[in-house]
Symmetry: C2
Subunit: 131 residues, 2 copies
Amino acid sequence: MVNTPKYDEAVLQVLDRSSRFRSCREILRDLDRSHSCATGPPSLSTIYRTVHRMSQEGVLDTIQSPEGERLYRRCGTPVRHYHLFCRVCGEVEEIAQVAEIAAVVEKIRCLSDFAQVDHTFELTGVCPRCL
Amino acid sequence: MVNTPKYDEAVLQVLDRSSRFRSCREILRDLDRSHSCATGPPSLSTIYRTVHRMSQEGVLDTIQSPEGERLYRRCGTPVRHYHLFCRVCGEVEEIAQVAEIAAVVEKIRCLSDFAQVDHTFELTGVCPRCL
DNA sequence: CGATTAGATGAAAATGATTATCAGTACCGT
DNA sequence: ACGGTACTGATAATCATTTTCATCTAATCG
């Protein structure tokens, strides 16, 4: 390999500051603010390329937001929690870790021949205000 | 009300033919083929408007495909199954209904004050070929 | 009846996220 | 230095979706 990506480390640092999934725009906004890159923040193109490559390599996990954005998070981020979205107004309620889900994932990991099995679990509903 | 939507019924019929989630383009393709609308198939705009309204009303459920399309299905469609995606090549393995997931969703439905709680559960991993 | 009007529709433009293209540049081994 | 390879940024292209707007349709009122 001739050249190593310049911003991998910075992107991972941003992601490691939070256990939430982040969009490419959020990542850029954070890099802009934190001035953590000597030569200035990367372009949006580079961030897209970086997170895409990293998620192919298994370094990042990705989910789709209800709005259609792709969100990224470092694999193996320990604290896991779920979200209950209101389908009408988009309000979010946090749901704590559920042991049964982890058990199911573990079972599937054993039964299937896939490696590095991870999961997303999303809940939707209609919040009291929108009923 | 002065005028009622002309294509609601046709869209629901298409969705009821399958338990899978369908995209707007798929719905249009099916309507095109089946010639079930007397005055010809609706425009893509109308399908987008129809499924958006119906999902706001709680008639349809929606998920995001890994490719970023929004997919729709009639609420209460009984057979549910999950997918295990390969993060590298995109290959899909079907996972049968898992009772524990339904139980967890039911528990959350009871604990929260949200109505019409639904869920998506997606699994990712790396398939044997890509390892 | 005929006028009015709210809602539905289709075509096309606008939007927004993501990807592809391409020219320029930095780095590595020779 | 040189050639080659991979990274970068700017821009254009793509794709799904939403918005706009002019038109149409059917129910209601005078």
